[in-house]
Amino acid sequence: MRKVAIVGCGLTKWGVRNATYKELAQEVSKPLFEDVENLRREDVDSLFVGSALVDRLAFQAYPAPIVAEQMGLAPTKMCMRTEMACVSGQAAMRVAYTSIASGLSDVAVVVGIEKMNLPNLAETQASMACVLDREWDGVNGLNAPPYFALVAQRHMHEYGTTREQMGLVKVKNAEYSASNPYAHFSKRVPLEKVLASPMIAPPLRLLDCSGITDGAAAVVMTHEDNAKRFTDTPVFIEGLGQATDGSLVGNLKSLTTWFPLKHAARDALKMAGVGIGDMDLAETHDCFTISEIIEYEDLGLCDKGKGGKFIEDGQSKIGGELPINLRGGLLCCGHPLGATGVAQAIEVVQQFKAQVPRERHVGGEWGLCHNLSGSANNHAVMVLHRGS
Protein backbone atom coordinates (compact mmCIF):
# COMPACT_ATOMS: atom_id res chain seq x y z
CA MET A 1 0.00 0.00 0.00
CA ARG A 2 1.32 3.40 -0.96
CA LYS A 3 0.96 6.43 1.29
CA VAL A 4 -1.52 8.95 -0.10
CA ALA A 5 -1.21 12.71 0.08
CA ILE A 6 -3.37 15.73 -0.65
CA VAL A 7 -1.21 18.12 -2.66
CA GLY A 8 -3.61 20.84 -3.77
CA CYS A 9 -6.97 22.41 -3.02
CA GLY A 10 -9.61 24.56 -4.74
CA LEU A 11 -12.92 26.05 -3.62
CA THR A 12 -15.63 28.07 -5.31
CA LYS A 13 -17.58 30.74 -3.50
CA TRP A 14 -20.44 28.97 -1.71
CA GLY A 15 -23.95 30.38 -1.44
CA VAL A 16 -27.04 30.92 -3.56
CA ARG A 17 -25.05 30.99 -6.74
CA ASN A 18 -25.91 32.31 -10.18
CA ALA A 19 -24.21 29.23 -11.61
CA THR A 20 -25.28 25.79 -12.81
CA TYR A 21 -23.86 22.45 -11.69
CA LYS A 22 -21.56 22.39 -14.72
CA GLU A 23 -20.44 25.98 -14.23
CA LEU A 24 -19.45 25.14 -10.64
CA ALA A 25 -17.24 22.37 -12.08
CA GLN A 26 -15.56 24.91 -14.36
CA GLU A 27 -15.14 27.43 -11.56
CA VAL A 28 -13.44 25.03 -9.15
CA SER A 29 -10.97 23.90 -11.77
CA LYS A 30 -9.25 27.32 -11.82
CA PRO A 31 -8.23 27.65 -8.12
CA LEU A 32 -7.33 23.94 -8.06
CA PHE A 33 -4.86 24.10 -10.93
CA GLU A 34 -3.54 27.47 -9.71
CA ASP A 35 -2.82 25.90 -6.31
CA VAL A 36 -0.69 23.12 -7.85
CA GLU A 37 1.72 24.93 -10.14
CA ASN A 38 3.39 21.87 -11.65
CA LEU A 39 0.18 20.00 -12.31
CA ARG A 40 -0.62 19.50 -15.98
CA ARG A 41 -4.05 18.30 -16.99
CA GLU A 42 -2.52 15.21 -18.60
CA ASP A 43 -0.99 14.20 -15.24
CA VAL A 44 -4.47 13.56 -13.87
CA ASP A 45 -5.24 9.89 -14.54
CA SER A 46 -8.31 9.61 -12.31
CA LEU A 47 -11.38 11.64 -11.41
CA PHE A 48 -13.82 11.06 -8.56
CA VAL A 49 -16.95 13.19 -8.43
CA GLY A 50 -18.87 13.44 -5.16
CA SER A 51 -22.42 14.51 -5.95
CA ALA A 52 -25.41 13.38 -3.93
CA LEU A 53 -28.52 14.55 -5.72
CA VAL A 54 -27.38 15.68 -9.16
CA ASP A 55 -29.89 13.30 -10.77
CA ARG A 56 -32.75 15.19 -9.17
CA LEU A 57 -31.42 18.71 -8.52
CA ALA A 58 -29.73 19.19 -11.90
CA PHE A 59 -31.86 16.53 -13.68
CA GLN A 60 -28.58 15.03 -14.82
CA ALA A 61 -27.44 11.43 -14.45
CA TYR A 62 -23.93 10.15 -15.24
CA PRO A 63 -22.14 13.36 -14.21
CA ALA A 64 -18.52 12.12 -14.06
CA PRO A 65 -17.73 12.45 -17.81
CA ILE A 66 -19.53 15.79 -17.86
CA VAL A 67 -17.43 17.09 -14.97
CA ALA A 68 -14.29 15.72 -16.64
CA GLU A 69 -15.08 17.64 -19.82
CA GLN A 70 -15.98 20.82 -17.93
CA MET A 71 -12.64 20.64 -16.03
CA GLY A 72 -10.65 19.75 -19.16
CA LEU A 73 -9.74 16.27 -17.93
CA ALA A 74 -9.61 12.92 -19.75
CA PRO A 75 -8.94 10.29 -17.05
CA THR A 76 -7.32 7.04 -18.19
CA LYS A 77 -7.32 4.99 -14.96
CA MET A 78 -10.44 5.60 -12.89
CA CYS A 79 -13.40 7.89 -13.48
CA MET A 80 -16.60 7.70 -11.46
CA ARG A 81 -19.16 9.46 -9.38
CA THR A 82 -19.49 8.50 -5.73
CA GLU A 83 -22.86 8.84 -4.06
CA MET A 84 -23.44 8.51 -0.34
CA ALA A 85 -25.80 11.46 0.19
CA CYS A 86 -24.10 14.01 2.48
CA VAL A 87 -20.98 11.78 2.70
CA SER A 88 -20.52 11.76 -1.09
CA GLY A 89 -17.50 14.10 -0.75
CA GLN A 90 -15.53 12.06 1.75
CA ALA A 91 -16.64 8.93 -0.11
CA ALA A 92 -14.95 10.30 -3.25
CA MET A 93 -11.75 10.88 -1.27
CA ARG A 94 -11.92 7.36 0.18
CA VAL A 95 -12.22 5.82 -3.28
CA ALA A 96 -9.37 8.02 -4.56
CA TYR A 97 -7.31 6.89 -1.57
CA THR A 98 -7.88 3.21 -2.29
CA SER A 99 -7.15 3.65 -5.98
CA ILE A 100 -3.88 5.50 -5.34
CA ALA A 101 -2.80 3.31 -2.42
CA SER A 102 -3.33 0.18 -4.52
CA GLY A 103 -1.27 1.55 -7.41
CA LEU A 104 -4.13 1.74 -9.86
CA SER A 105 -4.15 5.54 -9.97
CA ASP A 106 -1.21 7.91 -9.66
CA VAL A 107 -2.77 11.38 -9.70
CA ALA A 108 -6.43 11.89 -8.91
CA VAL A 109 -8.68 14.92 -8.87
CA VAL A 110 -11.48 14.62 -6.33
CA VAL A 111 -14.28 17.13 -6.73
CA GLY A 112 -17.47 17.54 -4.73
CA ILE A 113 -20.23 19.57 -6.39
CA GLU A 114 -23.83 20.26 -5.55
CA LYS A 115 -26.35 22.66 -7.01
CA MET A 116 -29.08 22.88 -4.36
CA ASN A 117 -30.96 26.09 -5.13
CA LEU A 118 -33.79 25.59 -7.60
CA PRO A 119 -36.58 27.99 -8.61
CA ASN A 120 -38.91 25.91 -6.39
CA LEU A 121 -37.20 25.00 -3.10
CA ALA A 122 -39.94 22.44 -2.34
CA GLU A 123 -38.26 20.38 -5.09
CA THR A 124 -34.99 20.51 -3.15
CA GLN A 125 -36.83 19.57 0.04
CA ALA A 126 -38.46 16.63 -1.77
CA SER A 127 -35.08 15.41 -2.99
CA MET A 128 -33.73 15.68 0.55
CA ALA A 129 -36.71 13.64 1.79
CA CYS A 130 -35.67 10.92 -0.69
CA VAL A 131 -32.33 10.66 1.14
CA LEU A 132 -34.41 8.89 3.79
CA ASP A 133 -36.31 5.75 2.75
CA ARG A 134 -38.85 7.47 0.51
CA GLU A 135 -41.63 4.88 0.84
CA TRP A 136 -41.68 4.54 4.64
CA ASP A 137 -39.99 7.65 6.12
CA GLY A 138 -39.97 10.41 3.47
CA VAL A 139 -43.63 9.63 2.74
CA ASN A 140 -44.50 11.14 6.11
CA GLY A 141 -43.09 14.52 5.07
CA LEU A 142 -39.88 13.74 6.94
CA ASN A 143 -36.64 15.25 5.64
CA ALA A 144 -33.52 16.56 7.32
CA PRO A 145 -34.82 19.38 9.58
CA PRO A 146 -37.72 17.43 11.14
CA TYR A 147 -35.56 14.32 11.45
CA PHE A 148 -32.82 16.15 13.36
CA ALA A 149 -35.56 17.90 15.36
CA LEU A 150 -36.59 14.43 16.60
CA VAL A 151 -32.95 13.81 17.51
CA ALA A 152 -32.72 17.14 19.34
CA GLN A 153 -35.96 16.52 21.25
CA ARG A 154 -34.70 13.12 22.40
CA HIS A 155 -31.29 14.52 23.41
CA MET A 156 -32.97 17.26 25.46
CA HIS A 157 -35.28 14.64 27.00
CA GLU A 158 -32.59 12.06 27.80
CA TYR A 159 -29.73 14.32 28.85
CA GLY A 160 -31.19 17.71 29.71
CA THR A 161 -29.44 19.47 26.82
CA THR A 162 -30.75 23.01 26.50
CA ARG A 163 -31.84 25.28 23.65
CA GLU A 164 -29.12 27.71 24.66
CA GLN A 165 -26.39 25.05 24.42
CA MET A 166 -27.51 24.18 20.89
CA GLY A 167 -27.56 27.87 19.98
CA LEU A 168 -23.97 28.28 21.18
CA VAL A 169 -22.79 25.89 18.45
CA LYS A 170 -24.10 28.30 15.80
CA VAL A 171 -22.59 31.29 17.66
CA LYS A 172 -19.15 29.63 17.71
CA ASN A 173 -19.21 28.54 14.08
CA ALA A 174 -20.41 31.97 12.95
CA GLU A 175 -17.52 33.56 14.83
CA TYR A 176 -15.12 31.51 12.70
CA SER A 177 -16.97 31.87 9.38
CA ALA A 178 -16.73 35.65 9.79
CA SER A 179 -13.20 35.34 8.39
CA ASN A 180 -14.08 32.81 5.68
CA PRO A 181 -14.70 34.49 2.30
CA TYR A 182 -15.99 31.21 0.80
CA ALA A 183 -18.76 30.77 3.39
CA HIS A 184 -22.44 31.14 2.55
CA PHE A 185 -23.04 32.97 5.86
CA SER A 186 -20.04 34.93 7.04
CA LYS A 187 -21.48 37.14 9.77
CA ARG A 188 -21.23 36.77 13.53
CA VAL A 189 -24.55 35.82 15.15
CA PRO A 190 -25.44 36.51 18.80
CA LEU A 191 -27.20 33.77 20.80
CA GLU A 192 -30.40 35.82 21.10
CA LYS A 193 -30.68 35.90 17.33
CA VAL A 194 -30.36 32.10 17.05
CA LEU A 195 -33.03 31.63 19.73
CA ALA A 196 -35.38 34.13 18.06
CA SER A 197 -34.98 32.85 14.49
CA PRO A 198 -38.09 31.35 12.87
CA MET A 199 -39.13 27.90 14.08
CA ILE A 200 -38.66 25.32 11.32
CA ALA A 201 -39.29 22.03 13.11
CA PRO A 202 -39.47 22.38 16.90
CA PRO A 203 -37.18 22.48 18.80
CA LEU A 204 -35.03 23.48 15.79
CA ARG A 205 -35.08 27.02 14.46
CA LEU A 206 -33.76 28.39 11.18
CA LEU A 207 -30.31 29.18 12.58
CA ASP A 208 -29.98 25.65 13.97
CA CYS A 209 -29.98 24.41 10.37
CA SER A 210 -27.23 24.39 7.74
CA GLY A 211 -28.07 26.34 4.61
CA ILE A 212 -29.34 25.25 1.22
CA THR A 213 -26.16 26.06 -0.63
CA ASP A 214 -24.55 25.74 -4.05
CA GLY A 215 -20.82 25.12 -4.23
CA ALA A 216 -17.87 22.99 -5.23
CA ALA A 217 -14.62 21.88 -3.59
CA ALA A 218 -11.73 19.95 -5.12
CA VAL A 219 -8.42 18.40 -4.13
CA VAL A 220 -5.53 16.76 -5.96
CA MET A 221 -4.33 13.50 -4.43
CA THR A 222 -1.27 11.43 -5.27
CA HIS A 223 1.13 8.92 -3.70
CA GLU A 224 4.04 9.86 -1.43
CA ASP A 225 6.81 9.50 -4.04
CA ASN A 226 4.95 11.77 -6.41
CA ALA A 227 3.87 14.36 -3.84
CA LYS A 228 7.15 16.33 -3.86
CA ARG A 229 6.67 17.02 -7.57
CA PHE A 230 3.67 19.13 -6.67
CA THR A 231 4.24 20.61 -3.21
CA ASP A 232 6.70 21.00 -0.35
CA THR A 233 3.91 20.52 2.14
CA PRO A 234 1.90 17.39 1.36
CA VAL A 235 -0.82 16.40 3.83
CA PHE A 236 -1.11 12.65 4.30
CA ILE A 237 -4.29 10.66 4.80
CA GLU A 238 -3.23 8.39 7.65
CA GLY A 239 -6.54 6.94 8.78
CA LEU A 240 -9.95 6.18 7.32
CA GLY A 241 -13.09 4.69 8.87
CA GLN A 242 -16.64 4.29 7.73
CA ALA A 243 -19.59 2.48 9.26
CA THR A 244 -23.24 2.20 8.28
CA ASP A 245 -26.05 0.75 10.35
CA GLY A 246 -29.72 0.76 9.51
CA SER A 247 -31.85 2.84 7.22
CA LEU A 248 -35.46 3.08 8.39
CA VAL A 249 -35.68 5.59 11.22
CA GLY A 250 -37.81 3.16 13.22
CA ASN A 251 -35.07 0.55 13.05
CA LEU A 252 -32.25 2.75 14.40
CA LYS A 253 -30.96 1.50 17.74
CA SER A 254 -30.78 5.05 19.06
CA LEU A 255 -31.49 8.56 17.81
CA THR A 256 -29.01 10.15 20.21
CA THR A 257 -26.01 7.81 20.19
CA TRP A 258 -24.43 7.46 16.78
CA PHE A 259 -22.86 4.01 16.97
CA PRO A 260 -21.48 4.11 13.38
CA LEU A 261 -19.62 7.33 14.28
CA LYS A 262 -17.98 5.63 17.25
CA HIS A 263 -17.00 2.74 14.99
CA ALA A 264 -15.66 4.91 12.15
CA ALA A 265 -13.67 7.14 14.50
CA ARG A 266 -12.15 4.15 16.30
CA ASP A 267 -11.08 2.59 12.99
CA ALA A 268 -9.65 5.80 11.53
CA LEU A 269 -7.67 6.69 14.65
CA LYS A 270 -6.40 3.12 15.03
CA MET A 271 -5.26 3.04 11.41
CA ALA A 272 -3.38 6.31 11.97
CA GLY A 273 -1.93 5.04 15.25
CA VAL A 274 -3.14 8.03 17.25
CA GLY A 275 -5.90 8.93 19.70
CA ILE A 276 -8.55 11.63 19.65
CA GLY A 277 -6.42 13.49 22.20
CA ASP A 278 -3.62 13.82 19.62
CA MET A 279 -5.80 15.88 17.27
CA ASP A 280 -5.02 19.57 16.90
CA LEU A 281 -8.30 20.42 15.18
CA ALA A 282 -11.38 18.73 13.77
CA GLU A 283 -14.06 19.33 11.18
CA THR A 284 -17.27 17.62 12.24
CA HIS A 285 -20.59 17.39 10.41
CA ASP A 286 -22.69 20.14 12.04
CA CYS A 287 -25.66 19.83 9.67
CA PHE A 288 -27.71 20.98 12.66
CA THR A 289 -26.57 22.44 15.99
CA ILE A 290 -27.58 19.25 17.82
CA SER A 291 -25.36 17.19 15.50
CA GLU A 292 -22.15 18.85 16.67
CA ILE A 293 -23.14 18.29 20.31
CA ILE A 294 -23.64 14.56 19.70
CA GLU A 295 -20.35 14.44 17.78
CA TYR A 296 -18.40 15.75 20.81
CA GLU A 297 -19.84 12.85 22.77
CA ASP A 298 -19.49 10.05 20.25
CA LEU A 299 -15.97 11.12 19.24
CA GLY A 300 -15.09 10.61 22.90
CA LEU A 301 -14.29 14.25 23.68
CA CYS A 302 -16.66 14.19 26.66
CA ASP A 303 -18.99 11.80 28.46
CA LYS A 304 -22.29 10.79 26.84
CA GLY A 305 -24.87 13.46 27.45
CA LYS A 306 -22.29 16.14 28.30
CA GLY A 307 -21.97 17.61 24.80
CA GLY A 308 -24.07 20.61 25.77
CA LYS A 309 -21.72 21.41 28.62
CA PHE A 310 -18.72 20.92 26.30
CA ILE A 311 -19.82 23.81 24.07
CA GLU A 312 -20.99 25.86 27.05
CA ASP A 313 -17.50 25.58 28.54
CA GLY A 314 -15.93 26.69 25.25
CA GLN A 315 -14.10 23.37 24.83
CA SER A 316 -14.66 23.26 21.05
CA LYS A 317 -13.29 26.77 20.54
CA ILE A 318 -9.71 27.81 19.87
CA GLY A 319 -7.90 27.40 23.20
CA GLY A 320 -10.32 24.67 24.35
CA GLU A 321 -9.94 20.90 24.37
CA LEU A 322 -10.24 20.60 20.56
CA PRO A 323 -11.06 23.46 18.16
CA ILE A 324 -13.90 22.31 15.90
CA ASN A 325 -15.27 23.63 12.62
CA LEU A 326 -12.92 26.54 12.18
CA ARG A 327 -14.12 27.28 8.64
CA GLY A 328 -17.59 27.84 10.12
CA GLY A 329 -18.92 24.34 9.62
CA LEU A 330 -21.96 23.39 7.60
CA LEU A 331 -24.00 25.78 9.73
CA CYS A 332 -22.20 28.80 8.28
CA CYS A 333 -20.43 27.61 5.11
CA GLY A 334 -23.66 25.94 4.00
CA HIS A 335 -24.01 22.33 2.92
CA PRO A 336 -23.74 21.61 -0.82
CA LEU A 337 -24.01 17.91 -0.05
CA GLY A 338 -21.24 16.35 -2.15
CA ALA A 339 -18.87 19.29 -1.66
CA THR A 340 -18.93 19.32 2.14
CA GLY A 341 -16.66 16.34 2.80
CA VAL A 342 -14.01 17.69 0.42
CA ALA A 343 -14.20 21.21 1.89
CA GLN A 344 -13.72 19.81 5.40
CA ALA A 345 -10.43 18.24 4.28
CA ILE A 346 -9.41 21.49 2.57
CA GLU A 347 -9.84 23.41 5.83
CA VAL A 348 -7.49 21.00 7.62
CA VAL A 349 -4.92 21.23 4.81
CA GLN A 350 -5.08 25.01 4.80
CA GLN A 351 -4.79 25.11 8.58
CA PHE A 352 -1.61 23.00 8.37
CA LYS A 353 -0.23 25.27 5.66
CA ALA A 354 -1.22 28.47 7.52
CA GLN A 355 -3.35 29.52 4.54
CA VAL A 356 -6.29 30.63 6.70
CA PRO A 357 -6.73 34.06 8.31
CA ARG A 358 -4.76 34.50 11.51
CA GLU A 359 -7.84 34.87 13.76
CA ARG A 360 -8.88 31.27 13.15
CA HIS A 361 -5.48 29.68 12.59
CA VAL A 362 -4.44 26.86 14.91
CA GLY A 363 -2.21 24.83 12.59
CA GLY A 364 -0.80 21.74 14.23
CA GLU A 365 0.05 18.30 12.90
CA TRP A 366 -3.07 16.15 13.21
CA GLY A 367 -6.61 16.85 12.03
CA LEU A 368 -9.82 14.82 11.91
CA CYS A 369 -12.68 15.15 9.41
CA HIS A 370 -16.09 13.68 10.13
CA ASN A 371 -18.86 13.49 7.53
CA LEU A 372 -22.31 11.93 8.13
CA SER A 373 -25.31 11.18 5.95
CA GLY A 374 -29.01 10.35 6.01
CA SER A 375 -30.52 9.71 9.40
CA ALA A 376 -26.96 9.73 10.82
CA ASN A 377 -26.94 6.04 9.85
CA ASN A 378 -23.66 6.41 7.95
CA HIS A 379 -20.48 8.08 9.20
CA ALA A 380 -17.06 8.54 7.66
CA VAL A 381 -13.97 9.71 9.51
CA MET A 382 -10.60 10.66 8.03
CA VAL A 383 -7.40 11.44 9.94
CA LEU A 384 -4.94 13.81 8.27
CA HIS A 385 -1.28 14.42 9.12
CA ARG A 386 0.92 17.30 8.08
CA GLY A 387 3.92 16.00 6.15
CA SER A 388 7.34 17.22 7.21
Partner: protein, 145 residues
Protein backbone atom coordinates in the same frame (compact mmCIF):
# COMPACT_ATOMS: atom_id res chain seq x y z
CA UNK B 1 -41.60 19.23 -25.87
CA UNK B 2 -40.18 17.33 -22.90
CA UNK B 3 -42.57 19.02 -20.48
CA UNK B 4 -43.67 16.74 -17.65
CA UNK B 5 -47.23 15.47 -17.65
CA UNK B 6 -48.16 15.33 -13.98
CA UNK B 7 -49.96 12.02 -14.47
CA UNK B 8 -46.54 10.43 -14.80
CA UNK B 9 -44.71 12.36 -12.07
CA UNK B 10 -43.43 10.49 -8.99
CA UNK B 11 -44.95 11.00 -5.58
CA UNK B 12 -43.89 9.74 -2.16
CA UNK B 13 -46.50 7.06 -1.61
CA UNK B 14 -45.63 3.41 -2.33
CA UNK B 15 -47.11 1.65 -5.33
CA UNK B 16 -49.44 -0.84 -3.74
CA UNK B 17 -51.18 -3.05 -6.29
CA UNK B 18 -50.45 -6.74 -6.78
CA UNK B 19 -48.98 -5.93 -10.19
CA UNK B 20 -46.50 -3.52 -8.60
CA UNK B 21 -45.42 -5.03 -5.29
CA UNK B 22 -45.32 -8.36 -3.50
CA UNK B 23 -46.43 -6.75 -0.23
CA UNK B 24 -49.83 -5.69 -1.63
CA UNK B 25 -51.58 -7.38 1.36
CA UNK B 26 -50.07 -4.70 3.66
CA UNK B 27 -52.21 -2.10 1.92
CA UNK B 28 -55.27 -4.35 1.86
CA UNK B 29 -54.87 -4.80 5.62
CA UNK B 30 -54.69 -1.01 6.04
CA UNK B 31 -58.06 -0.77 4.27
CA UNK B 32 -59.35 -3.13 6.97
CA UNK B 33 -57.93 -0.85 9.66
CA UNK B 34 -55.01 -3.17 10.44
CA UNK B 35 -51.32 -2.22 10.59
CA UNK B 36 -49.35 -5.34 9.77
CA UNK B 37 -45.89 -6.61 8.97
CA UNK B 38 -44.31 -9.92 8.03
CA UNK B 39 -42.93 -12.75 10.14
CA UNK B 40 -40.63 -15.35 8.62
CA UNK B 41 -42.28 -18.78 8.89
CA UNK B 42 -38.87 -20.50 8.91
CA UNK B 43 -36.87 -18.58 11.54
CA UNK B 44 -39.57 -16.44 13.14
CA UNK B 45 -37.88 -13.09 12.46
CA UNK B 46 -40.28 -10.16 12.46
CA UNK B 47 -39.06 -7.14 10.50
CA UNK B 48 -40.25 -3.64 9.74
CA UNK B 49 -41.06 -2.96 6.96
CA UNK B 50 -42.77 -6.05 5.49
CA UNK B 51 -40.39 -8.29 3.52
CA UNK B 52 -40.64 -10.88 0.78
CA UNK B 53 -37.29 -12.54 1.58
CA UNK B 54 -36.07 -13.04 5.15
CA UNK B 55 -32.95 -10.94 5.79
CA UNK B 56 -31.73 -13.60 8.24
CA UNK B 57 -32.43 -17.03 6.69
CA UNK B 58 -33.52 -16.11 3.13
CA UNK B 59 -36.80 -18.01 3.43
CA UNK B 60 -39.50 -16.65 1.18
CA UNK B 61 -42.53 -17.89 3.11
CA UNK B 62 -43.86 -15.03 5.21
CA UNK B 63 -46.92 -14.76 7.37
CA UNK B 64 -48.68 -11.50 8.17
CA UNK B 65 -48.92 -10.42 11.78
CA UNK B 66 -50.97 -7.59 13.24
CA UNK B 67 -49.16 -4.76 14.99
CA UNK B 68 -50.72 -2.96 17.96
CA UNK B 69 -53.22 -0.29 16.93
CA UNK B 70 -51.95 1.94 19.71
CA UNK B 71 -48.47 3.15 20.48
CA UNK B 72 -46.66 5.81 22.47
CA UNK B 73 -44.75 8.83 21.21
CA UNK B 74 -40.98 8.23 21.33
CA UNK B 75 -40.20 11.59 19.67
CA UNK B 76 -42.20 14.16 17.75
CA UNK B 77 -41.82 17.40 15.85
CA UNK B 78 -43.82 19.44 13.37
CA UNK B 79 -43.03 20.60 9.87
CA UNK B 80 -43.64 24.36 9.99
CA UNK B 81 -41.60 25.30 6.90
CA UNK B 82 -39.58 23.66 4.16
CA UNK B 83 -42.05 20.90 3.32
CA UNK B 84 -41.32 18.67 0.32
CA UNK B 85 -43.33 18.90 -2.91
CA UNK B 86 -46.81 17.52 -2.32
CA UNK B 87 -46.81 18.35 1.40
CA UNK B 88 -46.81 22.16 1.23
CA UNK B 89 -50.58 22.46 1.70
CA UNK B 90 -50.45 20.24 4.81
CA UNK B 91 -48.13 22.59 6.74
CA UNK B 92 -48.06 22.63 9.72
CA UNK B 93 -48.20 18.90 10.40
CA UNK B 94 -46.83 16.68 13.15
CA UNK B 95 -44.38 13.83 12.48
CA UNK B 96 -43.48 11.32 15.16
CA UNK B 97 -41.48 8.20 15.95
CA UNK B 98 -43.92 5.82 17.60
CA UNK B 99 -43.10 2.95 19.92
CA UNK B 100 -45.41 -0.03 19.47
CA UNK B 101 -45.73 -2.17 22.59
CA UNK B 102 -43.76 -5.40 22.44
CA UNK B 103 -42.03 -4.66 19.13
CA UNK B 104 -38.27 -4.38 18.55
CA UNK B 105 -38.78 -1.53 16.11
CA UNK B 106 -40.57 1.78 16.01
CA UNK B 107 -42.55 3.33 13.16
CA UNK B 108 -42.52 6.85 11.73
CA UNK B 109 -45.90 8.41 11.02
CA UNK B 110 -47.75 11.68 10.95
CA UNK B 111 -50.04 12.50 13.86
CA UNK B 112 -53.29 14.19 12.86
CA UNK B 113 -55.69 16.21 15.02
CA UNK B 114 -52.90 17.65 17.18
CA UNK B 115 -50.37 20.47 17.22
CA UNK B 116 -46.76 19.96 18.30
CA UNK B 117 -47.38 21.68 21.63
CA UNK B 118 -50.41 19.49 22.41
CA UNK B 119 -48.24 16.37 22.53
CA UNK B 120 -45.42 15.07 24.70
CA UNK B 121 -43.10 12.06 24.73
CA UNK B 122 -44.96 9.04 26.13
CA UNK B 123 -48.46 10.10 24.99
CA UNK B 124 -50.63 7.33 23.59
CA UNK B 125 -51.66 7.53 19.93
CA UNK B 126 -54.06 5.42 17.88
CA UNK B 127 -53.84 4.17 14.29
CA UNK B 128 -55.68 6.11 11.57
CA UNK B 129 -55.88 5.08 7.92
CA UNK B 130 -56.07 7.76 5.24
CA UNK B 131 -57.22 7.32 1.64
CA UNK B 132 -55.36 9.30 -1.01
CA UNK B 133 -57.20 11.04 -3.88
CA UNK B 134 -56.26 8.22 -6.26
CA UNK B 135 -57.53 5.51 -3.92
CA UNK B 136 -54.20 4.38 -2.43
CA UNK B 137 -54.04 4.19 1.36
CA UNK B 138 -51.51 5.13 4.05
CA UNK B 139 -51.34 5.17 7.83
CA UNK B 140 -51.14 7.96 10.36
CA UNK B 141 -51.93 8.19 14.06
CA UNK B 142 -54.17 10.43 16.19
CA UNK B 143 -54.09 11.17 19.95
CA UNK B 144 -55.83 8.32 21.79
CA UNK B 145 -57.77 10.42 24.26
Amino acid sequence: MGQIDERYAFDFYPLESEQQTRIAPFFQHLREGRLTTTKCTACGLVLWQPRVVCAHCHAEAMEWIDLPKEGTIFAHTAVLAGAPVGFEKDVPFVVAVIQLAGMDFRVVARIDDARYEDLKIGDTVRLKVVTLPDGRVWFRFVPAK
